[in-house]
């Protein structure tokens, strides 16, 4: 699905990524974690084809990004960014409809409107459809963009990739779980999810694989139970923690502090 070999990236002679190897398969939900400044977002941006240089080492469905047609690519891959322009003077529905732009020329088809309605119901923003986007709260805006990103990938393409940069910012507990359930479900249907998260317990709960970064390198990579150990976490964050096992789901539960 996505393969990157020895990805390096530097900004003004400051090296942010130092030879990262990533490979993600169909049906996986890869969660990238790590302390501030570890290079998580940069890695995600490189994998999303946002940094036009340094993408020659990355293969998406066996093709380099520059070998893809840009419109075709938009039906195979979508990205949720961390920071959106807060000033978009449009009704919520029109913002979500942007996700369908690759599919229609000037007039949205019935299928586009149906896709918009479906994803807006899934993300719980259907009730906001007539509201002005600018009047929404941070968490609501976040979910509107999530709906837009999912609307972009509502199609017949077999294996799709969605990249999310801290999608849970500003969301309450219920919506955090709702969003991650939605993503896990998307992955189970033969697609791939790559997301940056801060909450290690949510990573442990939903990831099929966890990638722990530190200082632009991969510190550990594997199943949540292998990566989220007291040793790895303490080394990455420089902060002590204890690990328990969730009584019902059997994934690690991390408690920080002594």
């Amino acid at each position: 699905m996505v393969k990157g070999h020895k990805i390096s990236y530097s900004h003004k002679s400051y090296s942010i990524l130092k030879g990262v190897d990533v490979s993600v398969e169909y049906g996986e939900m890869l969660v990238i974690v790590g302390p501030n400044g570890a290079g998580k977002s940069t890695l995600l941006n490189v994998l999303a084809n946002e940094l036009s240089r340094n993408t020659d080492d990355i293969y998406f469905k066996q093709k380099r990004f520059r070998e893809w047609d840009i419109l075709d690519l938009s039906k195979n891959k979508a990205k949720f960014s961390q920071h959106y322009n807060s000033d978009i003077p449009l009704p919520v529905q029109d913002v979500v409809l942007m996700g369908r732009y690759p599919y229609f020329d000037s007039i949205p088809q019935r299928s586009d409107l149906a896709a918009v309605e479906e994803v807006m119901k899934e993300t719980g923003v259907w009730d906001l459809k007539e509201r002005e986007y600018n009047s929404l709260s941070g968490g609501e805006k976040q979910r509107v963009h999530l709906a837009r990103v999912m609307a972009q990938l509502k199609n017949e393409v077999a294996h799709k990739l969605v990249l999310l940069d801290e999608p849970l910012n500003n969301l309450d507990v219920k919506h955090q779980h709702q969003v991650l359930e939605l993503m896990a479900d998307f992955a189970r249907r033969g697609n791939t999810v790559i997301t940056v998260l801060h909450d290690l317990n949510l990573a442990a709960r939903f990831a099929t694989r966890v990638l722990m970064m530190k200082n632009g390198r991969v510190l550990a990579q594997g199943a949540p139970g292998e990566v989220l150990t007291a040793e790895v976490i303490s080394e990455a964050y420089g902060f002590p923690c204890r690990i328990w096992i969730h009584p019902a789901h059997h994934h690690p539960v991390i408690l920080f502090g002594n």
């Binding site: 960014s81 959106y84 322009n85 449009l90 942007m98 732009y101 020329d105 000037s106 007039i107 949205p108």
Partner: protein, 344 residues
């Protein structure tokens, strides 16, 4: 979420049509007996059943002028909407960022200094020399402003507006200097260009304007989706399959062509590209899939209305049309400043 664009467009075209009829009717010259419709019909069929003077006034004076108001108004409004879209700011219009000044400046230089060039080039090109100059001036100005104001993938709109002020001052000074070099007939041309007027309308000029309009609109008018998506941010627009860099480059080029041609034939008429998108935004929020096509019609309506007023309000004299558009535009400029001061 029904698509109401066809309905709005149709209604707008009707308004434009009625206004054009009214405008043909109004003016200093009074027709002897026949109505405007009869004269128009007679010109089209060529049967010569109406007095020659009437036919001349409609066919050679008022009709070309009405058509030019429509073409220039439309072009100015669309170029304003497009620039606002790619620079993501309602103040980024051709006149405020100095594109119009750049075009006027080069038009003035071509009028006065073009004499010597004129002798060595074929006659067919004489006519388009000023247009070429205005286009190059517009393109130069917009490239300069864009280069100054951009960095790190962002465009600083305050810097853009200030660069526009600088270019306008330069234009003002050089056009002033040119008036001292100019001969009498050139001086008349210069005054005309500086204040803006549709008085010089001819069918040839309208033909060129129509070609420019059709050529640029065939690309630009369907870019509403792209301009909407760019509100998310340029990277995110690219994720939606939009070729952001290409669209920006072509929009800048086409805007320069549109503004250059409009300035070459009708002088610098300001604020149309500011007023129309502002009003449309109040009605339809910032949905460019609606406001871009609609600005093409409403720009025409605004300029035709302004021109009709300008040639009747102080009859038999004529008010420079730039005075009227500025009277409307300055308050809109203020309103935008008040509304958007937080995000500047």
């Amino acid at each position: 979420m029904k698509n109401k664009l066809p309905f709005y467009l149709l209604a707008s075209f009707l308004v434009l049509l009625v206004l054009a009829g009214v405008s043909l009717h109004m003016g200093v010259y009074r027709f002897e007996e026949s109505s405007v419709w009869k004269i128009t019909g007679s010109i089209l069929s060529g049967d010569g059943s109406v007095p020659a003077t009437d036919a001349y006034i409609i066919g050679k004076v008022r009709m070309p002028r009405v058509v030019m108001a429509v073409l220039v108004g439309s072009i100015l409004a669309v170029s304003g909407t497009c620039l606002q879209g790619i620079f993501k700011n309602p103040l980024a219009t051709p006149d405020l960022i100095g594109v119009t000044s750049g075009a006027t400046l080069m038009a003035a230089i071509t009028i006065v200094l073009g004499e010597s060039v004129r002798q060595v080039i074929p006659e067919a090109l004489h006519f388009s020399l000023v247009s070429m100059g205005a286009f190059l001036g517009a393109l130069g100005a917009i490239s300069l402003v864009y280069t100054i104001a951009s960095g790190n993938g962002k465009t600083n709109v305050v810097v853009m507006l200030l660069a526009g002020v600088a270019i306008s001052s330069l234009g003002f000074a050089l056009v002033g200097f040119m008036t001292y070099l100019a001969k009498d007939d050139q001086l008349r041309d210069l005054t005309f260009w500086n204040l803006g007027s549709l008085g010089g309308a001819t069918w040839t000029k309208n033909g060129i304007l129509a070609v420019v309009m059709l050529g640029t609109y065939s690309y630009l008018i369907t870019k509403g989706k792209a301009l909407n998506a760019m509100m998310l941010g340029e990277k995110d627009a690219e994720h939606l399959g939009i070729r952001v860099e290409k669209i920006k480059r072509l929009t800048v080029l086409f805007t320069a062509l549109m503004v250059g041609t409009a300035v070459a034939f009708s002088g610098s008429i300001g604020f149309v590209g500011l007023i129309i998108p502002y009003i449309l935004r109040l009605l339809f929020s910032s949905n460019y899939t609606l406001i871009l096509p609609l600005s093409a019609v409403w720009g025409a309506i605004l300029l035709l209305a302004a021109d009709t007023v300008s040639r009747t309000i102080v009859a038999p004299s004529e008010l420079p049309i730039g005075i009227l558009t500025a009277l409307l535009g300055a308050p809109v400029f203020m309103a935008i400043l008040i509304r958007y001061k937080k995000s500047m």
